[in-house]
């Protein structure tokens, strides 16, 4: 028997460090949880994975009609449809991730109250499971690039950075909201509303230059603002305001770390109150 293995269970109060060793030990379970979420998401649906494409695609068509045709919002270069879709790809991922992960602990309350494993896996798994949808919608985007004969620029190498930023921002929000949701079910009603509002303070349907220069720094505090600008820069070669992007990327990191710490602090009470 392994006499080396020793574990001490003590009362937990206040801030907790993140236990990376444990996360490493259990990482297979995280993979299983992601795999489960992917597997069951579109079970017993007619269109299956097509839903992942339809959501941003239809939103793009509606937005280009309302904002481009009726309200005369212009893109910053590329055709408006391409412009809107490039923004909707990260935004759809973010909004779906935040919605899913904020409800994830409640949806998995059985796991929380009956077995032990690092709790962060539940909201994180919900976010990571949506990466497949993101990949599918990027595939559709590639097809649209071909259709519109819009060239790929070298800036595409930045895509992984912004992808990571989107994951961190979504996970950070998901961690805090899912933890709060355990005590306050208000979160369930507030999140869809907040996500809807978020669409308008993020330059998804309008280019950044519509925002007065002095407000742009403030806009960067919204992590998704920089991510959306970054996605457009990487995918379409649109002009990038690095100031906004920089602030946003820093915010993504701060949000994620703060989310992890807050989640760790609250997790010991989950099983008692869920």
């Amino acid at each position: 028997m392994s006499t080396t293995f020793e574990l001490t269970i003590r009362p937990r109060k206040g801030w907790q460090p993140i236990d990376f060793r444990e996360i490493y030990l259990y990482w297979e379970l995280l993979a299983f949880l992601v795999w489960r979420d992917v597997k069951i998401r579109y079970r017993q649906t007619l269109l299956g994975g097509l839903w992942a494409l339809l959501q941003p695609f239809i939103a793009m068509l509606i937005f280009s009609y309302i904002f481009n045709r009726l309200a005369h919002v212009e893109s910053d270069g590329p055709p408006y449809k391409l412009f809107a879709y490039a923004g909707l790809v990260p935004w759809t991922f973010f909004s779906a991730s935040v919605t899913q992960s904020s409800n994830s602990l409640i949806a998995n309350h059985q796991l929380v109250s009956k077995v032990y494993f690092p709790r962060v896996f539940i909201p994180m798994g919900a976010v990571l499971a949506l990466l497949l949808d993101l990949a599918l919608s990027l595939g559709l985007f590639a097809a649209m690039m071909v259709y519109y004969r819009w060239p790929v620029t070298p800036a595409v190498v930045w895509l992984p950075v912004f992808l990571l930023g989107a994951i961190l921002a979504a996970a950070g929000c998901g961690l805090v909201l899912s933890a709060l949701n355990v005590s306050f079910r208000d979160v369930k009603y507030a999140v869809p509303f907040l996500v809807q509002m978020g669409l308008f303070v993020t330059p998804v349907i309008y280019p950044v230059r519509y925002v007065p220069q002095r407000w742009q720094v403030l806009m960067g505090l919204n992590p998704m603002a920089g991510i959306v600008i970054g996605f457009r820069h990487a995918l379409l070669g649109s002009p990038a305001s690095w100031q906004v992007i920089g602030i946003s990327l820093a915010m993504c990191l701060v949000l994620f770390i703060a989310g992890l710490l807050i989640f760790r602090r609250m997790e010991s009470r989950f099983a008692d109150i869920i």
Binding site: F5, F32, K114, Y116, A271
Partner: protein, 430 residues
């Protein structure tokens, strides 16, 4: 050698009614508190009570000390609410203790429920992998034992069917099969054998026996005393969050059974006024119980099996109502409910509106439970809600009698029934 599990001064406190906040008078206060509350939860010190009333608390576990050696199979027994599940939850790290500490020296797996994390939309095969991973198995380990698990569960034909189409029996078999193939050094099992059919229960008990003979350490919570006696080498008795007995399994069971009956009244008159251990939503309304024979004679020694029993219950009704009910529950010495008598079952029950002191009687023409000792729970419902309840209000003995008229005493089972035998085809021996 150091104990594989060392429990020191372990305590757990719960807050009661955490949701019943203070009365809020105006909208401004409601808004203010709801804005502040999430921040308290995020950043506030634990137990911060700024602007909040102190919530009533209770200790689910209080200063429990216990050493478990490698190879011990420890049965943890106690009545409902004694803290058994809380103890297992702390050991499984699902919840953290309020005070004290536990040192665990070995790989531990816990099974508080069979089929945790099973997803109805996934197939049997997929659920084996998912559930195995949730219980702490590695993918390679599951793959290695996959065929064994499938064979144990007897679901070969339905492996690729979503489990939502499984019968409940198949579902439970599959769930337990995964759990039974866990291979930890310390296994923690809550009352999970209460599911499944009898044959499968036996198979599971057999599997667990195998586990414990393999030198593994098992902590086992159950109300099934024969199973505890059969499987465990040691027993621990919890009562109201405290460890009251720690020793051999047989002795522990005896201690537990004795503790069940010590508090109970004897004789035909049982005064309920002073009983403290009760759940009284509307106050201590139940006052007295009387046990009588069919001829209204007091029942002192015990009731002969098959004879008539009358139980009178005295209680108060604080407000006039006609919607009140009385229930009597007869539990055997293992704490299992054998029979429930409830006024709701009687179509000709009272309809009159009453208040103040009431006496109702329950008349059982033939009491056919086998000889032995029974504890009686009594409760009162007013307007559809349990108003007062006493778990072990009284103790009652059923005595052997010549029920079948043959001079033979029934010795097995839980009740007797009149029955006849006849020889259908007699082949003459001439």
């Amino acid at each position: 050698m150091k104990p594989i599990l060392e429990i020191r001064g372990l305590s757990k406190q719960y807050q009661l009614g955490a949701r019943s906040g203070p009365k809020m008078d105006n909208l401004r206060e409601v808004v203010e508190r709801s804005v502040k509350a999430p921040f308290h939860a995020l950043f506030g010190r634990n137990g911060d009570s700024n602007g909040q009333v102190e919530l009533p608390t209770f200790w689910a576990l209080k200063d429990v000390n216990l050493d478990v050696q490698q190879g011990d199979v420890l049965g943890i027994i106690g009545r409902n609410g004694a803290g058994k599940s809380t103890l297992l939850k702390i050991l499984s790290r699902i919840t953290s203790p309020t005070a004290g500490q536990v040192t665990v020296r070995g790989r531990m797996a816990s099974l508080l429920e069979v089929g945790t994390g099973f997803h109805p939309e996934l197939t049997g095969r997929e659920n084996i992998y998912l559930n195995g991973a949730i219980l702490g198995m590695r993918k390679a380990e599951i793959r290695r034992r996959f065929d064994e698990i499938v064979a144990f569960a007897e679901v070969e034909k339905f492996l690729d069917t979503p489990v939502k189409h499984y019968s409940s029996g198949m579902y439970v078999r599959l769930a337990f099969a995964v759990a039974a193939h866990l291979n930890p050094e310390i296994l923690i099992v809550d009352e999970v054998l209460a599911v499944g059919d009898l044959a499968f229960q036996k198979k599971c008990l057999g599997k667990m026996g195998e586990v414990s003979r393999g030198g593994r350490t098992v902590l086992f919570v159950s109300h099934n005393m024969p199973a505890v006696e059969n499987l465990c080498s040691r027993g621990a008795v919890l009562h109201q969050g405290q460890l009251q007995f720690d020793g051999g399994a047989k002795e522990a069971i005896q201690y537990y059974l004795n503790s069940l009956s010590t508090r109970s009244g004897t004789g035909h008159l049982v005064e309920l006024d002073g009983v403290g251990d009760r759940k009284s939503r509307l106050g201590p309304l139940l006052k007295r119980m009387e046990f009588l024979t069919g001829d209204d004679e007091p029942l002192n020694e015990g009731l002969l099996i098959g004879s008539r029993l009358k139980v009178k219950v005295h209680f108060d009704l604080p407000k006039p109502t006609s919607n009140f009910h009385v229930g009597l529950g007869f539990n055997n010495s293992y704490g299992q409910r054998i029979f429930t008598a409830h006024s709701v079952f009687d179509p000709n029950r009272w309809q009159t509106e009453c208040s103040g002191r009431q006496v109702v009687s329950c008349d059982i023409p033939s009491f056919i439970l086998v000889p032995g000792e029974y504890t009686v729970k009594v409760w009162l419902e007013v307007n559809g809600q349990e108003a007062d309840a006493i778990e072990d209000a009284a103790k009652m003995r059923v005595l052997e009698s010549d029920f079948y008229g043959t001079g033979r005493v029934p010795w097995n089972g839980t009740f007797v029934l009149k029955h006849r035998w006849c020889l259908e085809r007699a082949a003459d021996a001439r």
